[in-house]
């Protein structure tokens, strides 16, 4: 009695702990999701919110594919930044995978390609391989076998270079799948075994499961049932240990197919049912469709034709929704067979016709051939002998061409060789004849050749000279246009500068004339605006001058500006420039925006901080330029300043050149501004 009570206690404690733990995990995860959502919403445009969306996508991937895709889409709506280049590419690849799993192959290709070109630009080998694999998988689904193989072969050397064994094995596995699609079984078997060996070495259980199941599949096709069951059960065990749902489901399907071949229908149906459950939960439509076909085939074998029809129709529905002509071809065929047994011949023929159409689309000649055979049989049963004959001829014609393709190639080769040998004798005779003639011709020909070459040379030189002149004239014209344009620009600036200066002077004089006049503040604004305008003009002219494209020039101008603003206010300042900058160049947009952000920052430090010292630091690390402006003033409340124009302008300028900007301020303890500018 005591023992029973004790066990009961033990179990209830365990259950309680389990429930509590699980609830806590759920809660923790939900809190994590909530906090990520907050980050994402709050910092729109920021690196951290991009990362938040990416993480959210990753968390939802296994459970809610559609939500994950939505999160990932939010992430790639962000402007592309070098600072998170790798993660951006990973998001592209993840989205590609999700689209593939839901059967949207074109969208998947689009995203994988986007990821691929970005990854190539930034030399992210890992991600390049993932993109290649994803692209090839899509091509397999769309039955473009050569393209699929091409991309896999592109990925293989990279994976060998990276010494990533799991990746290598994956590629061999996929190459095996490609050979399988082409019915090249020995080749496929070799590749799968290669993959399995590498997976085992790399302790990659998930991959090993995949490879083993593929080997099992081939053994099944080759009718080695015991071996097939053996490999597949091994694969299932490993996949279950590893929780690889895709592999587990596939193992069940393969087991079903093996059992079917052994006529063990009950077990086969059982296995299929387990597979369906997996696929349906994860919205893996393509595999769901294939599995229903398998179930339909079993019911057909069991002569339960109504059930078989139902299953094939279900498969068709799904195949249609993912626009897979290959799947639809098989489904139509299955439905056709079912109607035939149900004695509705018109419907059967109609469905076989549909199957032929779709099969032709994906160049599956075997399926077409099967359909011809069955149609011929159906017409024969209906005593429509002319139609039956017609289709039988189509069937045998196709069968012959399929089986004799190889033979024909061999014959043609032999024929070509035979013709060749005959010709050789004739050629020898002619050669002797020719040798005699050649000697006399040769002399004449040399002179002729020389003349032709000389003539050609003259023409070529003439063309080159003509082109060169044309280019020189064009260049001269361009320069003239440039000169006139520059002159106009300068005259314009001169005029504008002088006039603005006058407006400035006159407004100041007017204020001096009557400082207490009611118009004083308007005049003050006129003066300020004209001053600002002259500043902007000068900045603009400086920015577009190509002589100013070195980083040193920009730094020199920044130093000048600092002196101009800070020295009159007796603010101590330190301007530190790391030597490693030398030689870097900045394009127009970068130097303009960098300088303007710097101006704003120093102006703020001078005007609003009421501090006594300012530290400016410029350095470079790798491909990035770092600027920091720090003052020891009174700081400000960040919540209040968000709406001010100054901060917003700085952020806009920074994002225009893909630079990141951040500001740290503590009321009473100063403000620091950081900016990182990518140099390429």
């Amino acid at each position: 009695m005591f023992f029973a009570r004790y066990s009961f206690l033990k179990y209830s404690v365990l259950i309680f702990l389990f429930v509590a733990g699980y609830t806590f995990c759920l809660y923790a995860q939900q809190t994590k999701v909530d906090s990520l959502l907050v980050i994402a919403q709050e910092n729109k445009g920021d690196v951290s919110s991009f990362r938040a969306f990416k993480e959210l996508g990753g968390l939802s991937e296994k459970n809610d594919a559609r939500q994950a895709m939505r999160y990932y889409h939010h992430a790639i709506e962000f402007p592309f930044r070098t600072v998170y280049a790798k993660e951006f590419v990973q998001v592209c690849n993840s989205l590609g995978e999700l689209y593939h799993n839901t059967g949207q192959y074109d969208s998947s290709l689009l995203l994988y390609r986007q990821g691929m070109s970005l990854a190539q630009k930034f030399n992210l080998s890992n991600e390049i391989v993932n993109a290649y694999k994803g692209i090839s998988l899509n091509y397999i689904r769309q039955s473009q076998i050569d393209s699929a193989r091409l991309y896999l072969n592109l990925a293989l050397p990279i994976s060998i270079q990276l010494q990533d064994f799991s990746m290598q094995a994956d590629i061999y596995n996929n190459l095996g799948n490609v050979s399988l699609e082409e019915s090249k079984y020995p080749e496929a078997l070799t590749q799968f075994i290669k993959a399995a060996n590498i997976y085992e070495k790399a302790h990659d259980a998930d991959g090993l499961g995949k490879a083993l199941v593929n080997i099992g599949n081939i053994e099944n096709i080759l009718d080695h049932y015991e071996k097939a069951l053996d490999y597949t059960k091994r694969a299932l065990r490993i996949s279950e240990e590893n929780n690889s749902y895709a592999n587990i489901a596939y193992c069940h399907r393969l087991l079903a197919r093996i059992y079917r071949k052994q006529k063990n229908y009950d077990q086969a149906l059982n296995e299929y049912q387990q597979a369906i459950t997996f696929y349906h939960k994860r919205s893996d439509r393509r595999n769901e469709s294939e599995t229903y076909q398998g179930i339909g085939n079993i019911y057909y074998d069991l002569k339960q034709y109504k059930e078989a029809l139902r299953m094939h129709e279900k498969s068709l529905e799904i195949a249609h929704s993912i626009s897979s002509p290959s799947q639809m071809a098989y489904s139509y065929s299955g439905i056709g067979f079912s109607w035939r047994e149900l004695k509705n011949f018109n419907k059967a023929v109609a469905y076989f016709d549909s199957s032929i159409l779709k099969a032709r689309e994906v160049k599956n000649r075997y399926l077409v051939m099967d359909a011809y055979e069955v149609k011929s049989a159906i017409y024969a049963e209906q005593k429509n002998y002319s139609e039956a004959l017609k289709f039988h001829q189509l069937f045998s014609g196709l069968r012959d061409s399929l089986t004799q393709d190889e033979n024909r190639q061999a014959t043609e080769e032999l024929e070509a060789r035979y013709q060749n040998e005959k010709k050789q004798d004739q050629i020898e005779l002619l050669q002797k004849d020719r040798q005699l003639k050649n000697i006399s011709l040769r002399q004449g020909r040399t002179v002729q050749t020389a003349m032709v070459i000389a003539f050609l040379l003259i023409i070529v030189i003439g063309v080159l000279i003509f082109n060169r002149n044309k280019m020189i004239n064009q260049a001269k014209r361009q320069m003239e246009i440039e000169r006139v344009r520059n002159q106009i620009a300068r005259d314009l600036h001169d005029d504008m500068g002088s006039t603005l200066s006058s407006i400035n002077i006159i407004s100041q004089l007017a204020i001096k004339e009557n400082p207490s006049s009611p118009f004083a503040r308007y005049l003050q604004r006129i003066g300020e605006q004209s001053s600002k305008m002259m500043e902007s003009m000068a900045d603009m002219v400086w920015s577009i001058n190509p002589d100013n494209d070195t980083l040193q020039k920009t730094v020199a101008r920044m130093k000048e500006f600092s002196a101009e603003i800070l020295e009159p206010k007796n603010v101590n300042y330190q301007f530190e420039v790391e030597e490693s900058l030398n030689g870097a160049t900045l394009d127009v947009a970068k130097r303009k925006n960098l300088f303007l952000v710097f101006k704003e920052a120093v102006n703020n430090a001078a005007k609003y901080s009421e501090g006594t010292s300012v530290q400016i630091h410029i350095s470079r690390s790798g491909n990035e330029l770092h600027l920091s402006v720090q003052d020891n003033g009174k700081g400000f409340d960040p919540a209040k300043a968000q709406n001010g124009n100054g901060l917003r302008n700085m952020k806009t300028r920074a994002s225009e050149i893909n630079a990141s900007l951040s500001m740290e301020t503590v009321p009473g303890a100063g403000t620091t501004l950081w900016m990182n500018v990518p140099l390429t």
Partner: protein, 218 residues
């Protein structure tokens, strides 16, 4: 005694504004204001100004040629050039021709009076862009190592200035006083002008425009 000034500026509005501004200050008196420099030497002889303000880019005869003409008479009082851009090659040429300094037009309303005062007390402000142009012009004469004859210290100051450092920072860098820095800059200016003048004379000699004896330029 008020400082007398002649203003040469072809933009009418600006010319008048400068005139009004100077009229406001008792220290200065505008004795003449013109929109061209065609008769500059006669006007100087007649009005005897203490300072000349001159726009660099004017039609017909431009500021640089005018400065050359003025200095060739031996008139040695301050000439302040007015310009919109300070990276203007013309500014450098004007200084080599003998201008005493320059002022950006955007700074007229705030710094005109200070600039004139500084010139009159012998100062000659130089900006980093001008410093860079001086250095640039030195490198264009590969035959001579030190074409302007600058001392080592003057070279240091010039180089530091060309990197954008203010006088204050230059002074701190070399442990000098700001006044010493100013003196060095003034010396650089003078050597620049002397060098240009000797160059002009040498060129004229080569082209046989003046006789080598009786060194008298009318």
């Amino acid at each position: 005694m008020a400082t007398t000034i002649i203003v040469y500026e072809d933009n009418e509005l600006l010319r008048e504004s400068i005139g009004s501004m100077l009229a406001y200050n008792n220290q200065f008196e505008v004795s003449g204001s013109y929109d061209n420099v065609l008769k500059v030497n006669e006007q100087i002889k007649a009005l005897q100004p203490d300072v000349i303000l001159m726009d660099i880019d004017m039609p017909e005869l431009n500021g640089i040629e005018a400065v050359t003409k003025i200095r060739s008479t031996g008139w040695d009082k301050p000439i302040l050039m007015l310009t919109v851009f300070d990276d203007n090659q013309h500014v450098f040429d004007a200084i080599c021709a003998g201008a005493s300094g320059y002022l950006l037009k955007k700074h007229i309303s705030t710094k005109l009076f200070d600039a004139i005062d500084e010139l009159q007390s012998g100062g000659a402000p130089m900006s980093p862009s001008i410093a860079r142009m001086v250095i640039g012009s030195m490198h264009q004469r590969p035959a001579q190592v030190n074409p302007y004859g600058l001392t080592a210290r003057e070279n240091d100051v010039l180089t530091s200035l060309s990197k954008g450092n203010s006088y204050k920072l230059i002074a701190a860098e070399f442990g000098l006083s700001i006044d010493t820095v100013r003196t060095h800059i003034k010396s650089i200016y003078e050597k620049l002008q002397v060098h240009s003048q000797t160059e002009a004379v040498a060129k004229a000699l080569n082209e046989k425009l003046i006789r080598p004896t009786g060194f008298h330029i009318p």
